[in-house]
């Protein structure tokens, strides 16, 4: 760089500040995609392990894994987008159960087209409800964890209004279209990938997506950059509601019906938080994406299956799952800390 003549006496001794050396392509890639790559590697190991346990690994076995993961994967997306914006949502599971009950109420005795129409309506309703929850959080100033916890009770109650007992009879065509046949795993895989591609990717690239990341990263800086803080917060919940609705519809398709069991929702909420954390989304916001949580959701379904395959007691399998989550997140956190700390 060129030198400049000093204008303030005695302040300048000809010392020239050098431009910062850019971080290498490799380390930039590692920072952006490192965690997702790590989760993918973990998933690969678990898959190989699971395959080696089974006498035969074919379409049926794949379908068991993917169809079983679909709802958790979609719910992890819902939780993920809200956590990225700097919030948390303890009502995603109840929202999913509510969507499940609504679609189980409306879908039976309808053809494929009717079922698809119902699915769209259900997703619109969950999105509207989530928007309302987001608006209450933003307008009232009550912490998000409290509002969404309360909302989860309300939604569980509403699910009981909609359906007072489990109900089945959803069109088999619809089930096949979303969750696949017993020997056809591809629809479930395509739906997970499709939601990522059609909903998440455009959002991630949009100004709203940037605003969601900025909000979670540093709320004050986002405000000073002209981001409409309140709107962005609310819209992050709306996006979460869309994904929760998708999860509800997927649950209907994979089980062929619905049930107002509150504990389904609670467990699913906690699993979604686990998937988000394991998938590399920082609970402080601003960091991570939705691919990681989806891969993490697959890991979380595989772990108990593997433990059962080893002949472990189911309760031990649960313990093992918890221990693995803590270990993975702690190790990954330490690795990241070492990378971000300058030597």
């Amino acid at each position: 760089m060129t030198t400049v003549e000093p204008t303030v006496p005695g302040s300048y001794d000809g010392f020239a500040t050098s431009l910062p050396t850019p971080t290498s392509r490799w380390s930039r890639l590692a920072r952006r995609q490192g965690w997702t790559a790590g989760v993918a590697a973990l998933l690969a190991v678990l898959l190989v392990w699971r395959v080696s346990q089974l006498p035969k690994f074919g379409a049926f076995e794949i379908r068991t894994i993917t169809a079983g993961t679909m709802t958790l994967a979609l719910l992890a997306m819902a939780q993920g987008v809200i956590v990225i914006s700097g919030g948390i949502d303890l009502s995603v599971g109840s929202m999913m159960v509510f969507g499940n009950c609504l679609s189980a109420l409306w879908m039976p005795d309808r053809g494929l087209a009717g079922c698809l129409l119902v699915a769209v309506a259900v997703i619109a309703i969950t999105a509207a409800l989530a928007t309302l929850i987001g608006a209450i959080i933003t307008a009232s100033g009550v912490p998000d964890i409290i509002v969404t916890l309360a909302a989860s009770f309300v939604l569980a109650g509403m699910a009981l209004w909609v359906l007072d007992a489990p109900r089945s009879g959803v069109s088999a065509d619809f089930q096949r279209l979303v969750a696949g046949r017993l020997d056809n795993p591809w629809p479930s895989v395509l739906w997970i990938g499709g939601v990522l591609l059609v909903l998440w990717l455009p959002l991630r690239r949009s100004r709203l997506g940037l605003a969601i990341y900025a909000l979670g990263s540093d709320r004050k800086a986002a405000f000073l950059s002209g981001v409409q803080i309140a709107w962005t917060r609310v819209l992050a919940y709306t996006a979460g509601g869309v994904f929760s609705g998708c999860a509800g519809v997927a649950l209907t398709a994979s089980t062929g019906g619905g049930g107002p069991l509150a504990s389904t929702g609670t467990t699913a909420t906690l699993n979604s938080v686990a998937a988000v954390v394991l998938g590399g989304v920082a609970l402080t916001g601003g960091i991570g994406g939705l691919v990681g949580p989806v891969l993490a959701a697959l890991c979380l379904t595989l772990i108990p299956a593997i433990m059962l395959g080893l002949g472990w007691d189911p309760s031990n399998a649960e313990t093992a799952r918890g221990v693995i989550i803590i270990l993975v997140v702690a190790v990954a956190g330490l690795l990241q800390l070492r990378r971000t700390r300058p030597s």
């Binding site: 303030v8 300048y12 500040t17 940037l210 990263s217 405000f223 000073l224």
Partner: protein
């Protein structure tokens, strides 16, 4: 006086609860002018900047741009009216790349690039994550972003504080260019030499009012300093409480000694020593590393370099408890950070008593009560709102933070701006208490943003500038000598 004003504020006021930041400020900036906004810490500069840029809303007063009254409710409003700020803290989300941050503000990115290459920074990589960009370059990026809005008034809040001299020169070049285009710059800086060299006009704030406006190159630094201090400079220091001849002798060994402490970019090489019975005053402008120094002294942060010696023993502090158990205690400026706001006075004072985790068994209620009563009486704490500390006045809260250490016993007390925001009467009680503690043999380090307190309470002073001790002065050196040293100007030996 026929030139229309680019910016005019009249009687702008702002209060935060009981604290009045701005009483009534009139500021007049003409086109083609670089206007400096000056004032001591807490005079209201930053609040005024935040109001002008739409971050805060004024409680009262009017703002006009080119003669037309405007309402600035949001940062976007200010931008729309041609006011572009560069804030003290970089306004960029750390987890996004620079380019993404630029997209967020709807700024014209090619214009940002153009301004960057004008400042000879065209090679900066905008794909870099903000976290990875060193602070001086973030300031320059912030500046380029502000310039890309092509503002009528460019507001630079302490931009040169974090910049090396050669980058500062590029900022000055931008200021000159803006002036030539008949636009204006509002320039806030603690560096008076920069103000003299580059500003056409200056307005000095004191206690939330504009007290003087003049051409800085004519008046010189003397006039600036006098305006910043105001009448306070002429007040007779009759109540000075420097160590009396009857007090205990100052010991030979220092109770607390810092040797060549360095920490990150904030502290370079700080050495200081305080002996028993002595009050050392620390003076500094905002952001010169005093908070980091206190963090290191109180064990809240590990120093990167140098060592900390307490009563002759080198201490490797990993945790505040490591220094607390050797009798070094901190009274921070944010009282609610030190206290348990929802609990009673009694519990707050008792809390540090239970720090010795090796001592088991139930709490000795009678002993606890005795020590607390003693401390409460000694500090004459108003106990009417005793059940919740947060309901006490600021002054009484500060007394409780001091009382909890009295009840525990201490060798060294570190006070960080202990009288910030408390009333005059309580201030004097705090001064008396500090003096009394020293006379009983404690060593005291007190940072203060009110320079007159150095003359009132301290035995000698050290001045911190840019992370270094730049001067050590006797207590009676006077405020203007302190202020000159704090601005990095050389001092005339007393």
């Amino acid at each position: 006086m026929t030139t229309p004003l680019l910016l005019e504020t009249s009687a702008v006021a702002k209060a935060f609860g009981a604290v009045v930041a701005l009483r009534a400020v009139d500021l007049r900036v003409r086109p083609g002018e670089v206007h400096a906004l000056l004032g001591a810490n807490g005079a209201g500069k930053s609040t005024l900047v935040k109001i002008l840029t739409g971050v805060l809303r004024a409680d009262a007063g009017a703002i006009a741009i080119h003669g037309r009254p405007v309402a600035l409710r949001r940062p976007a409003d200010a931008q729309g009216h041609g006011l572009a700020p560069v804030f003290q803290d970089p306004a960029m989300a750390p987890d996004l790349s620079v380019a993404e941050n630029l997209r967020l503000t709807r700024v014209d990115v090619p214009a940002v690039r153009r301004h960057l290459s004008d400042m000879d920074l065209g090679q900066l990589d905008l794909g870099e994550q903000v976290r990875d960009v060193p602070l001086p370059f973030l300031r320059m990026l912030d500046l380029a972003r502000a310039l890309a809005f092509d503002p009528q008034l460019l507001v630079l809040d302490e931009i040169t504080a974090a910049l090396p001299p050669d980058l500062s020169e590029r900022v000055f070049a931008v200021m000159r260019r803006w002036k030539e285009r008949d636009r204006a710059v509002l320039f806030i800086s603690h560096r008076l030499a920069e103000v003299r060299a580059h500003c056409d006009m200056c307005t000095v704030l004191r206690d939330g009012r504009d007290v003087a406006s003049f051409v800085p190159a004519e008046g010189g630094e003397g006039q600036i300093v006098a305006a910043m201090l105001g009448e306070a400079a002429t007040v007779v220091r009759e109540e000075a409480r420097t160590r009396s001849a009857t007090a205990v002798d100052v010991g030979d060994t220092a109770l607390l000694e810092a040797r060549n402490i360095g920490a990150g970019r904030h502290l370079e090489d700080v050495s200081l020593a305080v002996r028993a019975g002595e009050v050392l005053g620390l003076a500094a402008l905002e952001g010169q590393g005093q908070d980091v120094l206190f963090d290191v002294l109180s064990g809240n942060r590990k120093a990167d370099r140098g060592e900390l010696v307490v009563d002759g023993v080198t201490v490797k502090a990993h945790h505040p408890f490591d220094v607390i158990r050797r009798g070094v205690v901190l009274v921070p400026s944010d009282r609610l950070q030190a206290l348990l706001p929802q609990r009673s006075i009694r519990e707050n004072i008792a809390a540090p008593l239970f720090n010795r985790v090796t001592r088991w068994g139930p709490i000795n209620g009678r002993e606890e009560g005795r020590r607390i009563d003693e401390a409460v009486q000694r500090l004459s704490i108003d106990t009417r709102a005793a059940s919740q500390v947060r309901r006490l006045s600021g002054g009484n809260q500060q007394k409780v933070t001091i009382a909890r250490w009295l009840a525990r016993g201490l060798k060294v007390m570190l006070l960080f701006d202990p009288t910030r925001g408390i009333d005059v009467g309580t201030k004097h009680q705090v001064y008396d208490l500090v003096r009394a503690l020293a006379d009983e043999g404690a060593a005291i380090v007190m940072f203060t943003s009110e320079l007159r307190e150095i003359g009132l309470v301290c035995d000698r002073s050290a001045v911190l500038h840019n992370g270094r001790i730049v001067a050590e002065l006797p207590a009676d050196a006077g405020e203007s000598a302190l202020l000159r040293a704090a601005h990095g100007l050389e001092t005339v030996p007393a």
